[in-house]
């Protein structure tokens, strides 16, 4: 593959990761006490967990001979979606049976997908709890994008001639750097695409463009330009 395609591909991968992280509903520390809607953990943590599970699937798929690139990317996406989907489902089971609260969002009055009324189901004194359908679907979309982004990074670095292990290492680092940028933009909690904070997305895309572009440029320069000094 020619260098420009790889640089562009890596930038696209970075942007996909950043967008994906914005879709994933995380409630941060408050959600662990059922004080906020979303999964009760940090943005980077959850996104990285999902993205790396996808990376394992994608790496396994890439290892077969003559596999189209789309299969590898989709495999990464499916791995991420499975991880996040099961985590959110069991998370909801704990909210419903362990804490005894119905899932509800505090950011919207009606769930945009199911049209269910939300505000009267929010536990008093909290910002919502659990993972209602709209957050769940948003999370699945986010895991899809993040999984594709991670897998794309891995594939492109392999095409660059790096060994699978080094490719996976850089893919992990690349994923973390982009996920952290997205997390700074989110600053704590986000419920998904219906959250007002989602409108901040363009800023994260620009910053990811700069950082991913730089990392892609030095990698391609090093691997393709060969020995300079």
């Amino acid at each position: 593959m020619d260098p420009i395609t790889i640089i562009l591909g890596l930038i696209i991968a970075g942007i996909l990761i950043v967008i994906g992280v914005h879709f994933i509903p995380v409630g941060g520390a408050p959600a662990a006490m059922a004080m906020a809607t979303g999964v009760g953990t940090g943005t980077v943590q959850l996104a990285t967990g999902a993205g790396l599970t996808g990376l394992v699937s994608a790496g396994y798929m890439y290892h077969f001979a003559n596999v189209p690139m789309s299969y590898v990317l989709l495999s990464g996406a499916v791995g991420s979606m499975l991880m996040l989907g099961i985590t959110m489902l069991i998370g909801n089971v704990i909210y419903i049976f362990g804490v005894g609260v119905p899932p509800a969002s505090a950011k919207v009055k009606f769930d945009p997908i199911t049209k269910y009324r939300q505000d009267i189901y929010v536990s008093p004194g909290t910002e919502g709890q659990g993972i209602p359908t709209v957050c769940f679907v948003s999370g699945i979309i986010g895991a899809f994008l993040g999984g594709v982004g991670g897998a794309l990074t891995y594939v492109l670095l392999n095409e660059l001639g790096l060994s699978p292990a080094i490719s996976a290492l850089i893919a992990i680092g690349f994923f973390l750097a982009n996920a952290v940028l997205a997390a700074y933009n989110i600053a704590g909690t986000i419920e998904g695409f219906h959250d007002p904070k989602f409108k901040r997305l363009p800023r994260a895309i620009v910053s990811s463009l700069i950082v991913s572009g730089f990392i892609a440029a030095i990698l391609v320069l090093a691997a393709m330009g060969g020995v300079v000094l």
Partner: protein
């Protein structure tokens, strides 16, 4: 504020700060020298341990400075980005300078500082995080991350060139380096977080986490350089014992220590 009488004590233990510039200077010079020394002969691989300790000190001080502002995503993400942003720089530097090996750490440091600078600038101006030290600290943390990775590679394999890096990557040990380095940098401030956190104590803990990494690097180096790895383990164990005792003593001096007992009564506001 409750417990205003305790505040006087807290101020009494507060002492003058070690300047960030001094720590940055030490954090660049010592690891660079240590990396070169470690690659000289496998018997000197333990010198890489000194590099590890000082790179950790520098990174931990950077994390402390920026995390004091409260970022909203927790301390761990800062430490993870340090290593995440610098792995690409290390790999690129190892490729770029594979003829003049001695330049690898310098180029890796420069590239990592640049990527840290970019992350800092985008966080400060594009993501509009209102933290003045953001740019400086992100730059420092990424630089420390790159030096930390190279110090580990030098300690573990006895060399820091492209084959050395390939060795640790293809066995997957580079991920072990990645995570012990990240935890070494982020743990000191994360573990001391609180109202009465003090730079001296946090940095003592960073020396202890640095030394713990040396022990681990020594264990890993048994596979690559064999018996000389034992020197690294012994050196690390000694350094860890000293620094860990220092940290425990300081914590006991600054905290209220009880062997056991019920919860003391406090006046509620």
């Amino acid at each position: 504020m409750t417990g205003s009488s305790c505040n006087a004590k807290a101020e009494a233990v507060a002492e003058k700060k070690i300047s960030n510039n001094l720590i940055a200077a030490l954090g660049i010079a010592v690891p660079l020298l240590g990396i070169f020394a470690a690659s000289f002969n496998s018997l000197f691989a333990f010198m890489g341990g000194i590099a590890i300790i000082f790179a950790t000190l520098w990174g931990a001080n950077g994390v402390r400075t920026v995390a004091k502002y409260g970022i909203g995503t927790g301390v761990p993400s800062i430490g993870m980005v340090a290593l995440g942003g610098s792995v690409a720089a290390v790999v690129a530097a190892a490729h770029l300078a594979s003829k003049t090996v001695l330049l690898i750490p310098v180029i890796a440091l420069i590239l990592a500082l640049l990527s840290g600078l970019l992350i800092g600038i985008s966080a400060r101006y594009i993501l509009k995080m209102n933290i003045p030290v953001m740019i400086r600290c992100k730059t420092e943390i990424c630089g420390a991350g790159a030096l930390l990775i190279l110090s580990h590679v030098a300690t573990i394999t006895g060399s820091f060139d492209l084959p050395g890096l390939k060795n640790v990557s293809d066995t997957g040990i580079v991920l072990f380096i990645f995570i012990i380095g990240a935890l070494g940098i982020l743990h000191p401030y994360n573990a001391c977080l609180g109202a009465d956190e003090r730079q001296g104590r946090t940095l003592k803990l960073s020396l202890a986490t640095g030394s713990a990494q040396v022990i681990l690097a020594g264990i890993a180096s048994l596979y690559f350089i064999g018996l000389p790895g034992m020197i690294t383990i012994l050196f690390g164990a000694l350094a860890w014992f000293v620094t860990y005792s220092m940290f425990v003593r300081t914590s006991f001096e600054e905290g209220i220590v009880m062997n056991t007992g019920l919860i003391p009564e406090v006046e509620h506001k």
